[in-house]
């Protein structure tokens, strides 16, 4: 197809601002899907995605649109993940586009996530088409939102499209704006092949499936291709595009978007951001911006039932086929037995993996407190990276510790500022920017230790702002910090799976809060149980769980022995779900108690 009639775009929106509904509506209006065929929010395919209302995997849908000028255009809608954990994937999806719809809720306004992705899009030189959505709601204030877009993002918003994806209002205006305002792709169909991988996943029948945007040249069936990062070659066995059903084709030329499979066995051969080129006639340079994805958050995953260890390993291997951002290696805990140290992009990513393991593979899991990867310089000058508290070097052997730092953008309303600033200070943040962005809203840019985010930051931010704060962050280097390892002893035995790395100044308070929480989570045993938090040999906090005082069934009513048996069986079953460490039965939740240690929330 002549690139002049191609438009590649994505939709930037905050969760709930109407991205999926708008995507559905575009599909419907262009006839890619009849209303009758249409399932709600077809682009979000996995159950989990639908439940959480976020998109985890990017997708690309081709729409054919007959514009008011009489020509028919190929519009490729490239869907992007909507969460801060997946910034890199977002940037690759944006790189595949020439423009983006910036969808802003007419009453909520611009959120941090939207802002971050818009900056990302501007960085990739995309044409931004502002869309003010939900204008049919009584609380809609399109003028204020327009002003905000101009002020905060610095984009002219006079010609923002007013729309209601729900009712279909303004959808044609959006399509016209895509055609008129977003530039056609620039690449040359005759240059050597360069195609950008912006998504890939594992299919049990076809192997890895790649979504790619052809920048230069042509991708053809049976073509021998080379994947740049690993230098491996494959033959294209399937080629096509989604509309939204998969439609096979023989060729994708410069400017077009589609999928391919080539008998690729592992997802790590087809990494997001990598360049596909022709094996015989390769391009001289890859496309810019490729980075191998690095996990930032680490946690131990253990089966509750130790005999399920093999099952868990198989499940992790299967998940990894489909998720190159996730990695794992075996680890061994004195408390929990055999498990795996796993690396994730962020907390949400961790939760998704955890839920998929429990839901799809039916494995009961214990997850240990998430942490980050520290750079530790030993006294002999060796530098080691430590992402597991149990591997923390002896303090006498540490010269210096560096912790990962992020730049975090928070957008909130003025009235919550006090609480949020307090939280950011408490989390060891350094303020880099403080800006009123109109409409009673404030933008904060803080440098924060990543370690503070993986504890309970999201929950705290949410409650401090009653949900009216949005957050975005990216890694911004390392800084030297006095971190220490905080151990927990239960009945005198250190529980390795409960150890955490904390800032020295917080160790005492965290230790206290953690022990207090554990006291509430660990049920009374038949004997008194001492809980202690310690740094090295120094005990910083202590609590006792008093011995169980009573566990008695009173009545034997009318000779109902079966009720008695059932109650006793239920108690026994409850114990089975706990992990026995030494003499003490510890419930699963206790291992995550560390997460909530700073919240001060009693529940």
């Amino acid at each position: 197809m002549d690139p002049a009639f191609i438009r590649n775009f994505s939709i930037i929106a905050h969760i709930d601002h109407g991205k999926s509904t708008l995507a559905d509506r575009l599909l419907e209006v262009t006839g890619a899907l009849s209303a009758r065929e249409m399932m709600e929010q077809v682009l979000d395919s996995m159950d989990l995605e639908r439940e959480r209302g976020i998109t985890i995997k990017a997708h690309a849908v081709r729409l054919n649109y007959k514009a008011q000028n009489g020509s028919t255009y190929q519009l490729n809608l490239i869907d992007t993940p909507g969460h801060v954990d997946f910034t890199y994937e977002v940037s690759r999806s944006l790189q595949a586009c020439e423009g983006a719809l910036l969808v802003v809720d007419a009453s909520q306004g611009v959120e941090a996530q939207t802002l971050a992705n818009t900056y990302l899009a501007l960085h990739h030189n995309l044409e931004i088409v502002p869309v003010i959505n939900k204008i049919d709601l009584p609380s809609a204030e399109p003028d204020r939102i327009r002003e905000q877009i101009e002020h905060v993002i610095g984009l002219p918003a006079d010609d923002a499209v007013l729309a209601s994806a729900k009712s279909g209002l303004g959808v044609t205006d959006i399509l016209e704006a895509i055609v008129q305002r977003i530039p056609p792709p620039k690449g040359s169909p005759d240059a050597p092949l360069r195609a950008l991988i912006f998504d890939s996943w594992f299919d049990p029948y076809r192997g890895v499936i790649i979504l790619a945007r052809v920048i230069d040249g042509r991708l053809k069936m049976r073509q021998k291709i080379r994947l740049w990062a690993n230098g491996r070659s494959f033959e294209v066995e399937g080629l096509g595009y989604q509309s939204p059903k998969a439609i096979p084709c023989d060729e994708l030329a410069a400017g077009e978007v589609g999928f391919l499979f080539a008998n690729i066995k592992t997802i790590s051969d087809a990494q997001i951001g990598d360049t596909i080129t022709d094996d015989q006639n390769p391009a001289s340079e890859p496309l810019p911006g490729f980075e191998a994805i690095k996990p930032m958050v680490f946690a131990g995953l253990y089966p509750v039932e130790s005999h399920e260890h093999g099952l868990l390993r198989d499940a992790l291997e299967k998940l990894r086929l489909n998720d190159s951002a996730f990695n794992f290696e075996p680890e061994n805990s004195a408390a929990l037995g055999f498990g795996f140290r796993c690396g994730f992009l962020g907390l949400l990513h961790l939760e998704i993996v955890q839920e998929r393991l429990e839901r799809e593979f039916d494995i009961d899991l214990i997850t240990t407190a998430p942490g980050v990867r520290y750079r530790v310089t030993r006294t002999n000058g060796d530098v080691v990276e430590v992402d597991n508290p149990t591997k923390w070097p002896d303090p006498s052997d540490i010269r210096q510790i560096e912790e990962p730092i992020i730049d975090a953008t928070v957008i909130t309303r003025e009235e919550y500022l006090g609480e949020i600033l307090k939280l950011l200070e408490e989390k060891r943040g350094n303020q880099k920017k403080f800006e009123y962005i109109g409409g009673g809203r404030v933008l904060l840019l803080y440098e924060l230790p990543l370690n503070e985010i993986v504890l309970d930051f999201y929950d705290r931010l949410k409650s401090a702002s009653r949900g009216y704060a949005s957050l975005d962050y990216h890694l911004a280097g390392h800084r030297v910090s006095p971190m220490v390892k905080l151990d927990v002893l239960v009945a005198g035995d250190p529980i390795d799976a409960l150890s955490i790395i904390v800032h020295k100044e917080f160790a005492h308070d965290r230790g206290k809060a953690l022990i207090e929480r554990l006291r509430k989570l660990i049920p009374r045993q038949m004997f008194e149980v001492a809980l202690q938090a310690a740094i090295g040999n120094k005990i910083v906090a202590r609590e006792n769980i008093p011995a169980m005082r009573k566990n008695v069934l009173a009545k034997c009513y009318g000779g109902d022995i079966s009720r008695k048996r059932k109650l006793l069986e239920k108690q026994k079953e409850g114990k089975k779900r706990m992990k026995r460490v030494g003499r003490v039965e510890i419930p699963q939740e206790a291992f995550l108690a560390v997460l909530k240690v700073t919240s001060g929330d009693e529940n």
Binding site: R549, K550, V552, L553, E569
Partner: protein
Amino acid sequence: MPGVYISFPFCAQKCTFCNFASGVAPRELEARYLRALEQEIAGHPWPWTPDTVYIGGGTPSRMPLDALSRILGAIPGRPWREATLEAAPGSITPEAARAWHDAGIDRVSLGVQSFVTREAARTGRKHTAATVAADVATLRAAGIANHNIDLIAGLPGQTPASWSESLDWVERLAPAHVSVYMLEVDQDSRLGLEILNNGARYGAADAPSDELTADLYETAVDRLAALGIPRYEISNFARPGLESVHNLKYWRLEPYTGFGADAHSFDGVLRSENVETAEEYVRRVESGQPARQSEAPANRDEERFFVGLRLMRGVTPEPADWARFGAPINRFIDNGLLESDGATIKLTRAGVLLSNEVFSEFILT
């Protein structure tokens, strides 16, 4: 000899602590229920003659006197060794007491729960200590001298002082038998659910801690022993010779037959139960279907322990039991929850309070 249990699951109101399948129902259902009960009893083949009868509820003292008389008239074996009727304090008239006596009742179990007006009122009871005293006098005058008084430790607002007030009344009324239950906090009662949800209705916020409840219970154990009413079962206390003959059958794995909704039976081999709700019971009996919904063989090897150990006299394990349960038995002897004279094992004072921990080790299936 076997016993008979008759269930009357109707009450004037549902008490906050009640976690049984009983409650308030339309009068019309009560009448149909009583007819169904008569029909079920009439259809029973009586392969043996019972020597005890126990009418429980619900509040069977609300049963119309003619119906009670007809029902007891259909049970063979009169005069029985023991025939108990459960009663709510405040509902006992001299006529009723005489009619009960004439129908063969010789023992009444009073669901007092607390002699402290405020505590009783919070559970939904309207009686006072004076009401109970009057009831006891009425029963004695009618010739029913054998009484049980139910008490609950752990009711909202209870304190050591208020508990001792209730125990003072036990001393004053001098019953033959006392039952002391620790409040069961579970989802099945309104109060239990409220406590679990950290609510405040029914005084849930004032519910005593586990410690206090256990202390109150132990105070009762000592006080009742001093009054000559020692504990013979985890929740039951009696003057020697006046233990409940009927209830002992449950703990000794002796047979009994139950009639009515949610009534349980044990023929020495099989345990069975009737359908749980009064509505379904009535529906089944009226349409000629059996009221019994399930039966399964009793597991005597396990029940001997988790039921038998409720009796203070303990259980004498046989060699096969030692092979099966020797390890937990010895562990509990070591940690002081069980004691043994070499032949018999029994719960210690501490073991009673943690008896579920002990019992669950005797459940293998």
